[in-house]
């Protein structure tokens, strides 16, 4: 698996906040087609790390390479167009727009980038309906995003990400606040997304991680503590010590 050129790599990637090294010289490779989970205790630097990948944050040092291209200096919006989509840990939807309009912004972006001129209403609606249906929000298209339940806002966030049809979808704690039933549906959804995209999943829910992840990367204090198949990670004493609670 490690032999093929990875879709995403980082080398020496670092980010400090004042004296705090939130991400500390991380070398990371993610092959195309994989579902990778990043786990680690609160404050380990997971969100900061993916923020450096998707361009929300600028690194203090190091490089990010996506699909063979160095994107370290590329602005965030261009990385998104290059195929990196990010869903926020802290729900960030357009509260005063309907769920439909929220997802329409993603679909509109994709249609504009496809160079088809002004996106036609029919194709826009088809794209939005499909994305909403995939996350199970088909019946909520007209609801204002701010009036959706917290769990539904998380799903809307995911719908906005996948409507971009990204090559790499980064999900930052997507199941936070979802019910058990919604989590089961979510696991099925991510499996389906992974058929044509690479998924990088930050997740605290170990059940979700074990169900989905091909490999797991464990972060602690800004560094990668361990990396491997779920069974190996579960058995790793250092990981148990740091994260799984022994």
């Amino acid at each position: 698996m490690a032999a093929v050129t990875p879709l995403l790599s980082t080398r020496g990637l670092s980010r400090s906040f004042g004296g705090l090294r939130a991400v500390d010289e991380v070398d990371f490779d993610l092959p195309a087609g994989e579902i990778r989970a990043i786990i680690g205790p609160n404050g380990a630097g997971k969100t900061t790390f993916v923020g450096l990948i998707c361009g929300r944050l600028a690194p203090s040092a190091g490089r990010v390479v996506f699909d063979g291209r160095d994107i370290t200096g590329m602005p965030a919006h261009r990385r998104v167009r290059a195929g990196i989509a990010y869903t926020f840990q802290i729900t960030s939807v357009f509260a005063r727009l309907s769920a439909f309009d929220n997802v329409a912004l993603s679909v509109q972006r994709r249609l504009l980038d496809a160079g088809a001129g002004r996106p036609g209403r029919a194709r826009l609606e088809a794209g939005v309906d499909r994305a909403l249906a995939r996350v199970g929000l088909a019946g909520h298209a007209a609801t204002l995003a701010g009036n959706l339940s917290y769990g539904h806002q998380r799903l809307l966030e995911v719908a906005m990400g996948l409507a971009l049809e990204p090559r790499l979808l980064i999900l930052d704690e997507p199941t936070q606040g979802l019910s058990d039933g919604e989590i089961a549906a979510f696991i099925a959804l991510v499996r389906e997304i992974a058929e044509d995209a690479t998924v990088l999943l930050i997740e605290h829910n170990m059940h979700v991680v074990m169900e989905l992840a091909g490999r797991i990367t464990v972060m602690e204090s800004g560094r990668i503590l361990a990396e491997g198949e779920p069974a190996a990670i579960r058995a790793d004493p250092a990981v148990q010590q740091a994260y799984l609670g022994g």
């Binding site: 998707c54 929300r56 602005p75 965030a76 919006h77 261009r78 998104v80 167009r81 989509a85 990010y86 926020f88 960030s92 939807v93 357009f94 509260a95 005063r96 727009l97 309907s98 439909f100 309009d101 329409a104 912004l105 993603s106 509109q108 972006r109 504009l112 980038d113 002004r118 996106p119 209403r121 609606e125 298209a141 007209a142 906005m160 971009l164």
Partner: protein
């Protein structure tokens, strides 16, 4: 929204323009003159609304864009003897150039800093109009000769000093600006602006170039305001530094707040309402500005979305 409602939106806006057209023959002379002025100033308010209402950029310096159009047209016609249409084009070009220059610099800031930077730029433009008094005659201003304002068309000459012609020209500009706003608001570009207003960071992470879209909004806004300024110079024949003063930066904000920010009809409604409130109250008391101030405060307290905004919120959600 999914419900398209294009037909009734077009019907409403077209209906308004036709009503205004009929008023050319129905209004008494004094009010027709007032309406001519209001239609031009409403275009100024519409330009302001693109930035403030739809994009969420609160500028305190929009007098500079009105002034760019006013002087762009006024100076070329007065000093260079350009025909009126060329002067109008010069006004638009001046507005566009100024908007791009100010936008590139001011958009590096947000919030209060943005307000202050736009205020300062407008102050610079105002002081420039005074500094070049030799050409602008400062506060006293320039009066354009009637024959310099004629618009020569194949087979006809339009004379803006004729009240009916002036009203119809003002209405033509207003209708064009209204059509442009409706088109923008309903286009992907307009939806992008509103979403940037609502959540800029999310838009960036959906792949939108936030800076470029905001700059485009400033450009559209600047050109609309300049169109109003240029038309004002040519229709009313007066070009003075007063139009570049801070008062003319605050007025479009008040008109838009009163009529309803981020509504296509708010600017005309607000401009009209404000003008007649001032007109009526000043007939009763010399302290009319106090009355106007109080009215505005009450309005913002009880109808923060303005007149058309409240209509949309309560009864007509389909209004663009």
């Amino acid at each position: 929204m999914r419900t398209d409602g294009l037909a009734r939106i077009v019907a409403l806006h077209l209906g308004l323009v036709l009503l205004l057209l009929a008023l050319n023959w129905l209004l008494p002379e004094y009010h027709r003159g007032v309406f001519s002025r209001i239609l031009v100033l409403a275009v100024f308010a519409m330009g302001y609304n693109v930035m403030f209402g739809y994009t969420g950029l609160l500028s305190l310096g929009h007098a500079m864009f009105f002034a760019a159009g006013l002087y762009g047209a006024g100076l070329t016609v007065y000093h260079l003897g350009w025909p009126a249409p060329a002067g109008f084009a010069a006004g638009l070009a001046a507005g566009l150039a100024l908007a791009l220059a100010v936008g590139v610099l001011a958009l590096r800031t947000t919030g209060v800093a943005f307000m202050i930077v736009t205020l300062m730029f407008a102050q610079v433009i105002y002081l420039l109009t005074l500094y070049f008094t030799t050409y602008t005659r400062g506060e006293e201003g320039l009066v354009l000769a009637p024959e310099d304002r004629f618009i020569a068309l194949p087979g006809a000459v339009l004379d803006p000093t004729d009240p009916s012609t002036r009203y119809l020209l003002a209405l033509a500009l207003f209708a064009a600006a209204l059509a442009a706003t409706v088109a923008i608001v309903r286009a992907p570009f307009g939806r992008t602006l509103v979403a940037i207003r609502e959540n800029e960071e999310r838009m960036r992470m959906l792949g939108y170039d936030v800076f470029a879209n905001k700059l485009a909004a400033v450009a559209v806004s600047g050109v609309l305001c300049a169109a109003a300024g240029a038309a004002y110079a040519l229709l009313f024949g007066y070009v003075g530094a007063g139009f570049a003063s801070i008062q003319y930066s605050i007025l479009p904000l008040l008109w838009v707040l009163l009529g309803g920010a981020a509504t296509t009809l708010g600017p005309i409604v607000g401009t009209l309402a404000m003008f007649y409130v001032v007109d009526v109250t000043s007939g009763y008391t010399s302290a009319y500005l106090l009355v106007v101030g109080l009215a505005l405060i009450l309005l913002i307290l009880y109808f923060p979305r303005g007149l058309v905004g409240t209509l949309r919120e309560r009864w007509l959600p389909w209004l663009p």
